[in-house]
Symmetry: C2
Subunit: 451 residues, 2 copies
C-alpha cells in the first residue's frame, strides 16, 4: 500500500457525480414512462452471463469484445496446470454485451410468459472496444422488444415507442431509417455477389455513412469482392432510393419483393403513430449484427455521426437457445449518444438536486436540537442538510453556496426555544424569522434556480 | 451451436421479471427520496475498477471473493507465454465489491468537492461467495456516507437516514445496534489478547450471533487464542452490556473511555431524529471489515438471521489512496434482505405494471387505425398495448387476462368511423361505448386491483 494507487476509473469507464446522474435520470425517466405507456413491462437480467449464452451471437468481432470473468481458486489452478492456452480455458462467464441476447435466453427459459412478451430493459452493457471520444466500455442501452409475433403491428409499435421517447425528450429533427434484410440480400445477389460473401458485404456496407462509397469499395476489394460486383451493388442501392422504386419492387416476385411489401406495410401501420413524420426508407441501411432477419431500423440525427439507436426483426435468435423458434422484433436506444446531443443542444430542463435548506447551527445549539429541527423540515418534504462541524456562521453560509442550497435556516438557542428558524434566501439575501412548521411552504413557493 | 445452451442465469445470479422489478423499484424509490431529504446527492461509479483500487481493502477473504476481469488479446497471450501462475498475472481489473471503496477513490480524485461530501449510492456489487438461500453473487447496496468531518452530527445523520428509510418502508421493530471500535479494542486488550491477535478476535467475534459463545471460543482456540483470553473477553463483553456500564467507562481514561464518550454523544445527537427509538448499544457488535475506526452500526430485525445493513466510521480509508487523510462515516442498507423480509411480511402496497388497456382489433380495422387510437389513449396518460396478431375477440380477451389488463378497448370499423371504442371492464364485465377522448378519465377513475 506504500505506492499511491490511481484514483481514476479504469480506461473507458466513468464516475458520474450528481449533476451527471440527474441528467441521466431525466432521460431514463422519460424512456421508462413512454415504454410503459406502450404496454411494455420491465425485465432485468444479471450483469454476468455464461459465455455459452454470449458467444456466437455477435459475430467474431463481438466475441473479441466480450469482458470475460477469470476462473477462481481451484478452477483457475487446474486450468493453469493443464496448460491454459487462451480465453476459453480461463473463463466461462462474461459481462452482458447487449440486452437482446439475455432477453432471448429468458424467453427460452420461461414457458409461462404471455403469447406476446413485450418487455423493456434499461441496463448497462460492456464492450472492450478501444475507448474514444463518446465511446465507452460501459454504457446504457434502453431496449423495447416484442416476442411471439410476426405482425407488422409489433414492428410499428417498437418504432413508435422510440420515436415518442425522442419527441418527449425534445428531439424533432431525427429520421427513423428503415430497410429490410430480404430486400438488401436480393440486391446483393443481383449485384452478382455470391452467397458466401453476403454477410461480409452487409458488415462493410454498414460503414457506408462513415467511410463513403470509395471506402466501401476499397474494403470490399481488400476482402476479395471484385470491383464489378461492389460497383453493381452500389449502383443498385442508388436506384433503390429513387421515388417509386420500392413500390415497383413490391409488385414483383421473390423474397426481395416480399421484403419490400413488408416495409410498405410497416410504413402504413407506423404512419398511424408517433413515428409517422420520421420514417425514412434507406436501402443502404445494413446493421452490423448478424441476427436480423426482416425489417431493420436506425435513428439518424443531424449533427451526429453514428446513430441514436437501432434495431430490427430477429426471428431466429431465440431458437438458438435450443427450444422452438420464436419470432421477435426490437429497438434499442443508446443513452450516451442521446445525452451527448442533448448537452450540446442545451435540451435539459432545470434539474434540482442537493439540499434546498442548509441548516446552520450557532454554538449554543446541541446536535440533538439541530437534528430535531431538520427532522421536522424533512417531514415537510424538504431536502435538508445540517452543517456538520462547529464553525462561524460566515463559513457555514459559504458552504451553503458551495452546495448550491437556495436557503439557509439559521438556528440559535433563542430560535430553538421559540420553535423558529431565521430563514435566509441566499439569492435575494432576505432573511425572515419563521415558525419551523412554516418553512416548507415558504421554500416550496420560492422560484428555485437551475443548477 | 448444435448442443442446447443453458437458458438459466449463472450460479448466484437472477433474472427479475416485471413483478420483481416493481417491488425492487418501490423500495429503491423510498431509499432515494429519504436519502435526498437528508441532503445526500447521488454518485455512480463504474462496475469495473482497477484491482489496485480494490485489493487490500476488504481483508484476505474479501480479496478472494473479487470477480476479476481476464486480460484480453496480446496482454493475455503475453501473460500466458510468460508462464502465468495466478490471478494477478491474468487480470488487473475486477468488479465493484462494495460502494465504499469506490467512494474513497472518487473523493481522493476530486479536489473540488464540498468540504463535506454527502453522497448516496444505489448500485449492485459482486462477490464470488458460495451461493445459498438469500445469498447472491450480484446484489444491491444502498449507501449514505459523509466525508470530511469527524462531527457526531455526521454519525447521527447516517443513522437517522437509514432509520427513516426503514420506517417509511413500514418497519417498526428494528434495532440500530451501535458499538465503537476503540471500546472493543480496549476490551480485547483488557482480556489479555495481544495486539497481533486483535484483528482476528474482531473477525471471529463478528460471528457471535451466528455461532454463539461456544462457537466463538472454539474458533478463537483453533486460531491460537487461549481459552483464558477468549473467556475473559466474553466475560468483559457481558459486563459491558449491564446498565450504567457505558457511562462508567466514559468517565475513565484512555481510548476506550473516549470511544464510550463518542458513543454517548452519538446517542444524544441521534436521539433528536428518526433513529431515536431504535438505537441500541451492543458491546459485542464487531463488523468484519478492517477499515472501521470509530462507531460501528448494524440493523437487527426480528425474524432475520443477519442484518438489514451496517456501517461505521472509517477515518483511514480515503488516505489509503495516497492523498491526505479524510475522515468519513457511512451506512449501507442491503436491498435483498429488505425485500426478503418485506415479502415474508406482506409489506408491499399494490404495485401496478403492464397495460391498463388492451386494445382489441376486429378484422375490419387496419393496423394504422389501431395505432392511431392507441396513440390517442397514450396521450391521455394510459398504458396501452395493442393485441398484435389478427385473432378472434375471445382469444384477445383471454390474453388481456393473461397480462392482467383491467380494461379491454374493442375497436371495429364502426368505432373507428365514429371516433369511439367499446370499453370493457374486465373485472365487472361491464361494457360501454365511449368517445376515445373519454377513455382516460374512465380508466383512471376505476379502482385498479393489485397484481
Amino acid at each position: 500500500m506504500s505506492q499511491p494507487i490511481s484514483t481514476k476509473p479504469p480506461s473507458g469507464m466513468r464516475d458520474f457525480l450528481a449533476a451527471d446522474v440527474v441528467r441521466r435520470r431525466h432521460v431514463l425517466a422519460v424512456v421508462q414512462r413512454v415504454y410503459e405507456s406502450f404496454g411494455f413491462v420491465p425485465l432485468e437480467t444479471p450483469t454476468i452471463e455464461n459465455l455459452g449464452t454470449l458467444l456466437g451471437k455477435y459475430g467474431p468481432e463481438g466475441d473479441q469484445l466480450l469482458f470475460r470473468v477469470l476462473h477462481r481458486r481451484e478452477k483457475l489452478q487446474r486450468a493453469l496446470a493443464a496448460g491454459a492456452v487462451g480465453e476459453l480455458d480461463l473463463a466461462d462467464e462474461g459481462l452482458r454485451y447487449d440486452l437482446t441476447v439475455p432477453l432471448a435466453r429468458v424467453v427460452a427459459n420461461h414457458r409461462d410468459l404471455p403469447a406476446f412478451f413485450k418487455r423493456y430493459a434499461i441496463q448497462p452493457v460492456w464492450r472492450a472496444d478501444r475507448p474514444a471520444k463518446g465511446r465507452f466500455r460501459e454504457f446504457y442501452q434502453c431496449d423495447v422488444d416484442i416476442t411471439g409475433t410476426r405482425s407488422v403491428v409489433a414492428d410499428a409499435e417498437v418504432c413508435g415507442a422510440v420515436a415518442q421517447v425522442l419527441r418527449e425528450l425534445g428531439f424533432s429533427d431525427f429520421r427513423l431509417l428503415c430497410n429490410h434484410r430480404a430486400l438488401l440480400r436480393a440486391l446483393v445477389a443481383e449485384a452478382g455477389i455470391p452467397p458466401a460473401h453476403e454477410a461480409l458485404a452487409l458488415v462493410v456496407l454498414d460503414k457506408l455513412d462513415k467511410v463513403g462509397v470509395d471506402g466501401v469499395q476499397r474494403e470490399l476489394a481488400d476482402k476479395g469482392v471484385p470491383a464489378a460486383q461492389s460497383g453493381a451493388l452500389l449502383r443498385l442501392l442508388a436506384e433503390a432510393r429513387e421515388a417509386g422504386a420500392l413500390a415497383r419492387r413490391a409488385a414483383g416476385d421473390g423474397a426481395g419483393a416480399e421484403g419490400a411489401r413488408e416495409l410498405l406495410a410497416l410504413f402504413a401501420a407506423a404512419g398511424g403513430g408517433p413515428a409517422a413524420a420520421h420514417l425514412t426508407f434507406d436501402p443502404t441501411l445494413a446493421r452490423g449484427l448478424g441476427y436480423y432477419t426482416g425489417p431493420i431500423f436506425e435513428i439518424a440525427c443531424s449533427d451526429l455521426a453514428g446513430s441514436l439507436g437501432g434495431g430490427g426483426r430477429y426471428d431466429g435468435l431465440i431458437g438458438m437457445f435450443g427450444k422452438q423458434p420464436i419470432p421477435a422484433v426490437g429497438f434499442s436506444l443508446g443513452l450516451e449518444r442521446i445525452l451527448l446531443v442533448m448537452e450540446e443542444r442545451g435540451m435539459f430542463p432545470p434539474l434540482g438536486i442537493g439540499p434546498q435548506v442548509l441548516l446552520c447551527r450557532l454554538p449554543d445549539v446541541t446536535a440533538a436540537a439541530a437534528i430535531g429541527v431538520a427532522t421536522a423540515l424533512r417531514a415537510q418534504g424538504l431536502r435538508v442538510e445540517i452543517y456538520a462541524d462547529e464553525a462561524k456562521l460566515g463559513t457555514q453560509l459559504q458552504y451553503a453556496n458551495k452546495v448550491a442550497a437556495p436557503f439557509a435556516a439559521i438556528l440559535g438557542g433563542d430560535e430553538v426555544a421559540a420553535g423558529t428558524v431565521a430563514l435566509k434566501d441566499l439569492h435575494t439575501g432576505e432573511q425572515v424569522v419563521l415558525r419551523v412548521a412554516e418553512v416548507g411552504a415558504r421554500v416550496s413557493r420560492a422560484h428555485l434556480p437551475p443548477r
